[in-house]
């Protein structure tokens, strides 16, 4: 009985935690949330710039 209560308590805490993360992630008016999202976008942009921008436009086209 007590084990099931403990499990229910931990399950409800996990549910609340997930709900708060979901509310934080979807609240577009939250400055901290936008800050975290834009920092992630900046880091992604830097990664793309460093790793995916080495194509050569002037290289000859492959012959089909």
């Amino acid at each position: 009985m007590s084990e099931s209560n403990v499990k229910k308590g931990s399950l409800s805490r996990a549910t609340e935690w997930i709900s708060s993360i979901y509310r934080f992630a979807t609240d577009r008016n939250d400055f901290r949330r936008n800050l975290v999202v834009n920092l992630g976008l900046f880091a992604t942009g830097v990664w793309v710039a460093r790793n995916l921008s080495d194509f050569d436009l002037m290289s000859p086209q492959p012959v089909t």
């Binding site: 900046f42 942009g45 710039a49 921008s53 080495d54």
Partner: protein, 342 residues
């Protein structure tokens, strides 16, 4: 003509009437260069001698305002309406330009601009003094005078009027040392009213690649005064420049990457604690010198997508600019078309 054009775009930004002066096909972005890496110290040198040699090889870090400029130049400039710019060099020292802007959202305008470049040469493409001014059809004037007072001190005075009323006036002096740059700017000083703005910049080369510095802004008006301090750090490598500015007003980070001769990429992050807002932008610049074409594109976190296309129509002295910006969030679209002659 060539010296006027070269000197009319020194370190401070060019006047608005000189639109389209950037030429596609520049293989090395202007001002971009790898700081010299000090050679390996000889084994027989003393410790103090090595330290002095390392210190003397630190390059000048450049101007404080240029820290984020390399990245910002990659992004397309938003333009709306139809713009016609005619540049005419009357001599090696004097150039005039006419700008006609036809707009659908704002007022259409005509601007007349003039640029005078002196004969004091301080560098390969630097002539002083430089006087740039332009006036629009309502009588509003923008002007600036830049002069190299000595080999290390450069000064600038700028004025801006709205019809007959002065709205901005500022003067600054920049000192370039061996491995540092210091600048002080006085903005809108009014001794009678006791108001004004003082801005001081300092940038120091720590290593051939790393430069650290700061900016202090002090503003005062009757009954109110305050100051804002910002710190900046810039790391320059062979193919990228990373810059970070942190202050009480917010943060600004930029990353510039030169992928190859044709492609440059820029990523920016800005956050303002006062406005409680932040944004991230991604931009790129494609140069195709064989086609005399330059394409810039950008996308940001506010769902704004934009692009500009600039093409030189050789052998005519014509340059064509097409611009389009789309704001998906606000459902707004802006497009612009421009021709530059001369």
């Amino acid at each position: 003509m060539g010296s006027v054009l070269a000197a009319s775009s020194p370190s401070p930004p060019p006047p608005p009437s000189a639109a389209g002066s950037a030429s596609p096909g520049v293989t090395m972005p202007p001002g971009f260069g790898m700081p010299p890496v000090p050679p390996a110290a000889p084994p027989t040198g003393s410790g103090a001698g090595k330290e002095q040699r390392a210190e003397s090889l630190l390059p000048n870090p450049g101007a404080f305002d240029e820290c984020h400029r390399k990245c910002k130049e990659v992004f397309p400039m938003q333009m709306e309406g139809v713009r016609l710019v005619v540049n005419k060099g009357l001599s090696n020292h004097f150039q005039v330009n006419h700008s006609l802007l036809l707009s659908t959202t704002g007022d259409s305008s005509y601007r007349f601009g003039a640029t005078f470049v002196g004969s004091k040469q301080t560098g390969p493409a630097e002539f002083f003094p430089v006087m740039v001014g332009d006036m629009d059809n309502s009588g509003s004037l923008n002007s600036q005078i830049i002069h190299q007072i000595s080999s290390r001190i450069r000064s600038k005075v700028a004025f801006q009027t709205q019809q007959q009323k002065f709205v901005n006036w500022q003067g600054d002096a920049e000192f370039r040392g061996e491995d540092f740059t210091a600048m002080v700017t006085f903005g809108n000083p009014d001794v009678l009213a006791g108001s004004g703005i003082i801005i001081t910049h300092y940038l120091q080369s720590i290593t051939p690649s790393l430069a650290l510095g700061g900016e202090l802004v002090y503003h005062r008006r009757p009954g109110e005064e305050g100051s804002v301090l910002s710190l900046v750090g810039r790391y320059t490598a062979s193919d990228f420049i990373a810059t970070l500015t942190l202050g009480s007003a917010g943060a600004h980070a930029s990353y510039y990457h030169k992928a190859n001769e044709q492609l440059q990429v820029g990523v920016e992050f800005e956050a303002s604690s006062r406005m409680q807002d932040s944004s991230a932008s991604f931009g790129y610049q494609l140069d195709v010198p064989k086609a005399n074409l330059q394409f810039k594109g950008s996308v940001d976190s506010n769902w704004v997508v934009g692009a500009t296309l600039e093409k030189k129509l050789l052998p005519l002295p014509l340059s064509l600019v097409l611009c389009a910006f789309l704001n998906h969030q606000k459902n707004k679209f802006q497009c612009g078309f421009g021709i530059t002659i001369g």
